[in-house]
Symmetry: C2
Subunit: 289 residues, 2 copies
Amino acid sequence: MNKSGLVYQNGAFISPQEAKVSIFDRGFLYGDSIYEVTLTYKGKPFLVEEHLDRLWHSADGIGLSIQMKREELTRIIHEGARKLGLERQYIRIIITRGIGDLGLDPALGEEQTTLILFKELPALDTALYEKGVTLFTSEVLRNPKKSMDPSVKSGNYLNNVLAIKQAREAGAYDAVMLNAKGYVTESTSANIWMVLGESIITPPLEAGLLGGITRQKVMELGKAQGFDIKEQNFTVDTLKSANEVFITSSTREVLPVTQVDNQVIGLGVPGPKTKELHKHYKTFILNLN
Amino acid sequence: MNKSGLVYQNGAFISPQEAKVSIFDRGFLYGDSIYEVTLTYKGKPFLVEEHLDRLWHSADGIGLSIQMKREELTRIIHEGARKLGLERQYIRIIITRGIGDLGLDPALGEEQTTLILFKELPALDTALYEKGVTLFTSEVLRNPKKSMDPSVKSGNYLNNVLAIKQAREAGAYDAVMLNAKGYVTESTSANIWMVLGESIITPPLEAGLLGGITRQKVMELGKAQGFDIKEQNFTVDTLKSANEVFITSSTREVLPVTQVDNQVIGLGVPGPKTKELHKHYKTFILNLN
């Protein structure tokens, strides 16, 4: 596995097989780390500024002051993508609080571990986009903001791992995660949207979810096209009554959902507004490159 | 650091410096792991059965089926402690869902990573026991059971890392973590107790906390001594009004708390019941060895 890849680790480019961390790394012991994921189109890293903004937001969220200069990180992201040289790459940036004596206090972390993984990203699975995917409402509630803010992308992803485990065991592609009030937050790694009547609705950040970069772009592009786009809380029952449902993420773009639990959505095929938003998003990508 | 140590990793004993995991290990990427900590007294691993019971409880909590046989794990714990040969050792057992293709679905994990770290554990800091420590009420709420059950010892410890960060920055030794109802749960790595009138009270497991092994032993020993020991919810205001406060954990045993936030507890010195319970706990340890 991971043969077509490259890893930047603390100053050098190495193969993914060589990329290891000490068991004393706080990222391994406590998940005391932050990360970002982006991709390349035609070999060029996508929306790097937006992803680095969010990386710094995540760092603030756990009180970590990133030691590497932003310009340096930007340079390495572009250099690594050029080195690997593939059209379509997955890029994961990980920063941990580093190695230190055992103990929860983050002040024990010494030099931060900085890792950037570049690997081949398979093309979008067209069958998924033609057929749509199924979501399953997990019993695992999304972490509340006052415990572990879901707007922070950290090394603590067991909450989502447990939710997708339930979803996959139920035969679904991904999970719908609710908050303690019973409102829909997000899937385990994507934002959730529905088309209800003439409105296109996604939960507000206050529901406790990741401020998706694709979510933001789709919002902007949709509004520019005259769609009635709203951020609004809704329950999974409302989601099931929607005309269309879709999810958004950097690597999945705009992915139609045609079933939630046992409820077929709309006509059971990807909806027209979903397809139109995906088309506009693809145009946006093309225009950037 | 970690010179006086030894690590068992997937079949071999190596030095702590050599002990590394792939960056594709799910323990590193997502905190998709469980762990236990015990110690040795006179070189003998302490309450191994109880700790392995809890390791299996944690495994159940994240739907992980431990690949290593319990007898084998027990044998290696004793073998490692003998090999290191120190009287007082810290022992940390970590099991991760192993290496796999990137993705949250735990089914992607292949062979589990099994690590056991043995290292020198300094003697109890007598000054702390003579003076008592300070706790600080953190704004970070303990993870709720429906999101990430605190009775599971997992690789997701950022919740506690953030709480102790606040406490240490406020000059305290550890944090008091509350649940969403405002009740005291536990500190970041110990159970919390108070003496209120004639009763000795600790929050119930339902408050969302780790079922401490020392907590359980202190409960049993205290009841055997005729103390009125209760599991009951209480707020931090009640905690501050207590006659005595203490915390319990495997490595700290029974540690007096003499201040909570700005409130001095009782006379500001370790209380008599705290000292008596610690004495009984020490006798229990001696009798085991």
